[in-house]
């Protein structure tokens, strides 16, 4: 939010007047909490879809404000059942280390997994450039099911079919939502001229 803005009452009352059903805010914690408080105060039942709120501490402090909100992640949520192999390894490693699984540590794990995969593909006679080249040749890297599949030959420039996994806040839990069969990911074709259908990866 801008300097000195601590109140979104005008924006929320306009949204309510316009009959807004879904809000996709791209703001930090301060912004989304302020928005959620105002939605509650004004009795709006608009649903929020949050790209950066997969954090248990947020639910502990502000869970009542985000009931029913959809939380998006780029990786398979920890609650995915059945859990993909990569996710099982990650959760086991975190438990062994006595650490709480979080989104930032998951990103770190994925970066490390990509590096290891790149090393393997580069072979025993590796150097920095060979590892980079090996990674950039991967066309469907999933980190053993933690991701929907990254095509590194194009991912640096464009992603025509982005995929996201969603959970929904119910009580104090994140519950997987909008799953496509066994896959936690929802993919939408950005190049479509009409409203795309949700698909599995």
């Amino acid at each position: 939010m801008a300097f000195g803005v601590t109140d979104l009452s005008v924006q929320v009352s306009n949204m309510k007047q316009a009959g807004v059903d879904i809000i996709y805010p791209c703001m930090d914690l301060q912004g989304v909490v302020t928005l959620a408080k105002e939605l509650k105060k004004q009795g709006s039942d608009a649903i929020m879809t949050l790209p950066n709120a997969y954090d248990r501490t947020i639910i502990e402090d502000f869970g009542d404000l985000f009931q029913g909100a959809y939380i998006g992640t780029a990786f398979a949520p920890f609650e995915t059942d059945p859990a993909p192999e990569g996710l099982e390894k990650y959760l086991a490693a975190m438990e062994e280390a006595g650490l709480e699984p979080t989104e930032p540590t998951t990103v770190g794990w994925l970066n490390a997994a990509l590096f290891v995969e790149g090393l393997r593909e580069a072979g025993p006679d590796f150097d920095r450039q060979k590892v980079i080249d090996a990674i950039n040749e991967m066309t469907d890297w999933t980190a053993e099911g933690m991701l929907s599949g990254v095509d590194w030959t194009t991912a640096h420039f464009e992603v025509d079919r982005p995929c996201t996994a969603f959970t929904r806040v119910e009580g104090e839990e994140f519950v997987p939502a909008l799953t496509q069969g066994d896959s936690p990911f929802v993919c939408l074709d950005r190049t479509s001229d009409t409203m795309p259908e949700a698909e599995a990866p």
Binding site: A2, G4, T6, D7, S9, N14, L29, V33, K40, I58
Partner: protein
């Protein structure tokens, strides 16, 4: 009309937030003569104490509030008075402002040594609920207030009325104003200036503590920077009250909140004007008030008529050197520079060399303050803005026009210099604190309106800035670049020394002594100061380009997150006695 009225009513709670902070700033200035930006730090201290005892230690509400607002806050204020501001009583308003900036930076960091720097979510409100939105009045309807908003509105109104009565109709209020104007005169009339000063600081600190505890729940997590951003937004309201009128400051705060709400509701969301104006509104209003408000035109530092009773402050050590000692210090400096370069070249690893190199580039930017503040006697809080202009110009010109990097850096300096000169034209009608606030408003306007534009900063995509390549010498090698930065620092330092000893420096010295006498001698105050502004901006722009070359990019994040860091630079460089001593005359009206 129905919608406009609705927006106006919805703007009142936010307006009361601004009003409370503006009244706090005005109270401190009126009662102590200090424009205390550290008010935000004081608010954070009390908010941290309240969070700690109320949420972490589960204290009941009233004892927690008493501790945070009526015990800790006054102690902090007394420490500020006794250890610092009492000794600056006869100093200029600029010196006091810079000192408050130092406290603004240092105090929260000291508090974090105890409070911790991990995220402290969900600050508790000054109410018997865990979160302010858990108590609403009315329960439903068009305009619903939560517990925090009701407490803020009530507190702001009570404080404004109470302080107005205090200053207008009480003897202590009159004594406070007398001590600010002339401590000696007040003492001659039987007023204990020290005690009155302490009372003033206690009063303003209690208000800071109250503000901190009341406003903390506005934020999802407790963060010292949030109080500063709110305070900065409330500056326009304080200026509306000419820094001395409490009811006007209150009205200004309300008006600002209402205007903010009306603009939020009426401006189209996809308009470029709206995108830039909405976040910059408090600073645009502040800048406009400072330039156009008739009530500010003749406000200058009040000269204590008994200032001559006190002995003059000791001159800086630099002016007392004997020629032999001056030679020794010059030789020692040269040896230190050579030694430093040798250590950097042969000894330091990449990490430390990088840190030292960035410090040298920052040093170039800081030298700009010697011109504007040391020689010119003007406090400018927008030097990082000129540095950013230099950095962005360097990046844009190098990337889009193919100009060699060193040439782009010089071009960036030129652009910054022009901007500085243009800024000086309207702001030089102001003096002291108002001039500083105008430069701060300009800096924040630039950050809000221009920095997010892709043709300025590249937007969210950083622009690459390569290291210079001069002939066969490639400065991509870190040690060579380090030496280049040292050479640049020495060249800029030499330039500053030449300016100091040259005509411009003598003119600025004369203007600091007595503007009227200088004008009578044919020295145009405006021309000299505009040149000082332009030159200092150019030096800052040059340093900014150099820094961008060090980082390898110029981007939005580097400039937008540096407010507290910049405040630190500003305090440090103002405090180091880099300027020449004041001429031997009575207390000057400015600086």
């Amino acid at each position: 009309m129905g919608d406009l009225l609705r927006y106006a009513v919805q703007g009142i709670p936010a307006g009361c937030v601004f009003a409370l902070l503006a009244v706090g700033l005005v109270l401190t200035f009126k009662a102590s003569g200090v424009f205390n930006l550290a008010f935000a730090a004081q608010a954070y201290v009390s908010a941290a104490v309240f969070y700690s005892v109320r949420k972490e230690d589960a204290w009941p509400l009233v004892p927690a509030a008493v501790l945070a607002i009526l015990v800790v806050a006054p102690i902090v204020g007394l420490l500020f008075d006794r250890l610092l501001f009492r000794h600056l009583r006869t100093a200029s308003s600029g010196a006091k402002l810079i000192s408050s900036i130092g406290l603004l930076v240092a105090v929260p960091e000291l508090v974090k040594l105890w409070f911790g720097s991990d995220s402290k979510k969900n600050p508790p409100p000054l109410w018997w609920v865990e979160r302010s939105d858990q108590w609403l009045w009315p329960q439903s309807g068009r305009f619903v207030l939560d517990a925090g908003q009701i407490a803020t509105i009530a507190s702001a109104a009570v404080v404004a009325v109470g302080l107005t009565v205090l200053f207008r109709w009480s003897s202590i209020g009159l004594q406070m104003r007398a001590v600010v104007e002339s401590p000696r005169m007040a003492e001659l009339n039987g007023v204990n200036a020290g005690r009155v000063s302490s009372v003033a600081w206690i009063l303003s600190s209690v208000l800071a503590g109250l503000s901190g505890v009341l406003l903390a729940p506005l934020f999802a997590a407790l963060n010292s920077l949030d109080f500063f951003t709110l305070l900065v937004a409330a500056l326009a309201a304080a200026v509306f009250g000419r820094l001395v009128n409490i009811p006007m400051a209150f009205a200004g705060g309300l008006a600002l909140g209402v205007l903010q709400a009306i603009l939020a509701g009426t401006l189209p969301t996809d308009s470029i004007v709206a995108t830039g104006l909405r976040p910059a509104l408090p600073f645009v209003v502040l800048f406009a008030l400072l330039l156009l408000y008739p009530g500010l035109k003749s406000m200058r530092d009040v000269a204590d008529p008994l200032a001559g009773v006190d002995p003059p402050p000791p001159p800086p050590a630099a002016s007392l050197r004997t020629p032999a000692w001056a030679t020794v210090s010059r030789v020692a400096t040269a040896l230190a520079v050579l030694g430093g370069v040798a250590i950097g070249w042969f000894v330091l690893d990449a990490f430390w060399l990088g840190l030292i190199t960035s410090g040298v580039a920052l040093g170039v930017i800081l030298l700009s303050i010697t011109i504007i503040t040391g020689l010119g006697g003007m406090v400018s809080l927008c030097q990082p803005t000129f540095a950013a202009m230099g950095a962005f110009t360097t990046a844009q010109v190098t990337a889009n026009l193919g100009v060699p990097v060193l040439g782009s850096i010089l071009l960036g300096a030129a652009v910054a210099a022009v901007a500085g000169g243009l800024l000086a034209l309207p702001v030089l009608r102001l003096d002291g604190v108002y001039l500083a606030l105008a430069t701060l408003a300009f800096a924040l306007m630039f950050q809000s309106i221009f920095v997010p534009l892709s043709w300025v900063s590249g937007g969210s995509v950083p622009m690459d800035v390569p290291r210079p390549l001069v002939g066969s010498i490639d400065f991509a090698e870190n040690r060579r670049f380090f030496v280049l930065c040292v050479v640049c620092l020495l060249l800029v330092g030499g330039l500053v020394t030449l300016v100091k000893r040259g005509t411009m420096g003598l003119y600025l010295d004369a203007l600091r002594g007595s503007e009227h006498a200088a004008a009578a001698a044919g020295i145009g105050p405006r021309a000299a100061r505009v040149k000082a502004f332009a030159l200092s901006a150019g030096i800052a722009g040059f340093g900014g380009g150099l820094l961008a070359t060090y980082y390898g990019s110029a981007n939005f994040d580097q400039t937008s997150s540096s407010s507290s860091g910049w405040c630190g630079w500003c305090w440090w460089s103002r405090s180091v006695p880099a300027r020449s001593p004041p001429p031997p005359s009575a207390a000057s009206p400015s600086s």
